[in-house]
Amino acid sequence: MNFRFVVNPEVCTGCRTCELACAFAHPHDSKPGKSRIYPIDGGFKELWVPVTCLQCDDAACVKSCLVDALKRNPVTGAIELNREMCVMCMACVAACPFGCALLDPGQDAVVKCDLCGGDPVCAHFCPTKALSYVPIKKKDRIAG
């Protein structure tokens, strides 16, 4: 894990470009999929918070999955959902305390942020750099 996904709500304008980028980056049947990132009203004037998966260390979604369909990708650090393994029990959707495991009704599947396999598309498109994917400084790196 050499990169970290950084969210900086201070500069988010709530333009929802990330939401659109995510939906287009995760298509199914050549239609856009469900976005896994949502800029939401932060409760103060001109304050938006892009809410997406934090790839928690001790993740509730991973713990809740009784069939081990959710596993961390050791390269990207993202917790990835294996659709072939998923039995659609909704445990992870119900368990995530940030609401970032989602049901995509369009394709009848559970989805979550996968950091686009190591190059999050939303970060590329965010016009104010409220989202970025930055290298982790050596000294901050967790062993390995």
């Binding site: 709500p9 939401i40 009784l66 039995v87 659609m88 959707v93 368990a95 609401g99």
Partner: protein, 258 residues
Amino acid sequence: MIKLTINGKLVQADEGDMLLTVIRREGIDVPSQCHHQAVEPSGACRLCMVEITRQEWDGWSKFVTSCLYPVEDGLIVTTHSAKVIQLRKTIIDLYLARHPNSTEIMRLASEYGITRTTYETVVDGDDCIMCGLCTRICAHMGFSAISTVGRGHDKEIAPPLKEAPTDCTGCLSCANNCPTNFIEFTRDSNSLTIWGRTFETLACSQCGKATITREFAEHLSKTRDIPIAYFEVCDDCHRKETAKTMGRVVNWTREVQA
């Protein structure tokens, strides 16, 4: 690393991979009803049959259920030879006779150009093809609430003694993965009924939306060490809460900097 040939193409696979998995990975469409990656294969539906041979078999070949057959070095696999298609058609034909009202079987039949069965149709045949995927998934999740009961023609999937199953959590994984959509359940605003048992669904404390049953949430909380409070707010409201919490922090730094 194992090297084998599928439809004339040399492919690589890992030791222990099942043929069907590798075939699918190659983007080849072989039908299957009883297969799911989450559970061990069982070879019940016979639809995933393919033809295999080897150089040294001198033209001799055989049919195997690909979901149950581990890859081997030098294997030559054909998924759509005339003989395999004929065999698959016969199997589908039999399914169509036994389950004449199943839309999934009808879909499969039409895919193989079968419009009517050549066998005698079973009157009031139901849609359960007895593949046992539901029982395998339920057992794998640790519940084993349902199993095959009865014998011969009376065989069916049911909870023990055909009573409302005590081990069921109402997770719906059986119904959600039944290939023929045979397992029925009903849902209303605050409850869900499956296998003759009614469960309370856990409503979001903010908006009332329910995702899973209280029984399932409590089971996960207990066995997986997840605070029950996590389950008491739905995903939509959790995202809103997250934004509000982070919003307060951001606003505070704003004020400090101002």
